[in-house]
Homo-oligomer: 217 residues x 2
């Protein structure tokens, strides 16, 4: 029974990794919507977010079902709590990608961002997408090296965001509304990246926690 | 042993409520810092946030200790998972208040917000603070009526945020940087409110969940 429980939890983590991959697809499409003024890409991003929300709700219910059937020990419980908790991180990633897609939709057929900032957003989108992929990999591999890479990528996102603020503060000629949009978009990418980091950090904690529990058994 | 566990969990919820009250104090001081250009208030807000983070970390560790000592049944586990999860909501509320305080600090001795918008931010701050107090009350009373009130307050925050966007979009004369600041501040208040709503919603779920579990015993 105990081994079953652990197997089920492991498959829950794999399911979580799949949804992190979906979050990567969601932000990829949202960035395309933003840069190419492409409403079909915005729609795809929102669909990824919907799919991800549905799967995460199922996953959480399954986690509680597991609990109802068994009386898990402490180390298993840490795993379980982490599945529920990281589910919330992945869900936020999907919502943030959706915010980006919706911003692109709201300004259509105009472009939200000035051409000048396209390279910054392109890079921000690439890094954020990669971070979701790396978070998914961390969940699958439980390799703590993934967490270290994510911390570096997170610094890149922070630096790009500062670049946006620098542009807004220095001779901005695109109007107040565009400044507000750019500030909020930068925030959405930054938070997306933060959640990817939180997932990888939790994997490190989990690996440590699980190792400690296993060696104590 | 079982009753002990449940008592401990209940005291964990009370501790969580206390931290939600601290989040209310943090956003109160942050709003004062913003409106009165008062650096001492910003400092107090940041101190509240630090205190809250420390207490929540203790609380989470205590929750895991409880787990290590006992093999709780499913209904208790839902409570426990909720303590860990709602701890994350309260933590975000503290961080968002800190972002507001830091924005005020960054522009000091200038005011971040144009005088014209002071009434909007004052109201936003009042409602957000009240929402944290109401979320704390919901945690203590487990009264589902609190959740209904929070939903209405949340609508008010959303409406105030739209008012900010309306100002930015219509004849804004305060520059791009102020527009970016105002957009982000509006976002921080909105997210703070969202987390208060999430706490109250979880209380409703918990009350339902616990009732169901108790009646099944």
């Amino acid at each position: 029974v105990r081994d079953d429980f652990r197997r089920n939890l492991t498959s829950a983590q794999d399911a979580l990794a799949e949804q992190a991959d979906t979050a990567a697809a969601a932000i990829e499409q949202a960035t395309i919507a933003l840069l190419d003024v492409d409403p079909a890409a915005a729609e795809r991003s929102l669909q990824h977010n919907q799919a991800l929300r549905g799967r995460l709700a199922e996953l959480e219910n399954k986690a509680y079902e597991l609990l109802a059937l068994q009386a898990p020990v402490a180390s298993d419980l840490r795993l379980l709590v982490s599945v529920v908790r990281l589910g919330a991180d992945v869900e936020r990633m999907g919502s943030l990608a959706a915010h980006i897609a919706e911003t692109a939709q709201r300004r259509h057929p105009a472009s939200v961002i000035p051409e000048l900032l396209a390279p910054v957003f392109r890079q921000m989108g690439d890094v954020a997408q990669q971070m979701a992929v790396d978070a998914a990999a961390a969940l699958r591999s439980r390799d703590t090296a993934d967490a270290a890479r994510l911390a570096i990528e997170d610094d890149t996102v922070d630096r790009l965001r500062l670049e946006l603020f620098g542009q807004i503060a220095g001779g901005w000629s695109y109007g107040a509304e565009a400044a507000a949009d750019v500030a909020l978009l930068g925030r959405y990418y930054e938070r997306f990246a933060d959640h990817a980091v939180a997932i990888a950090d939790a994997v490190v904690y989990l690996v440590t926690g699980v190792s400690a529990a296993v060696s104590a058994e």
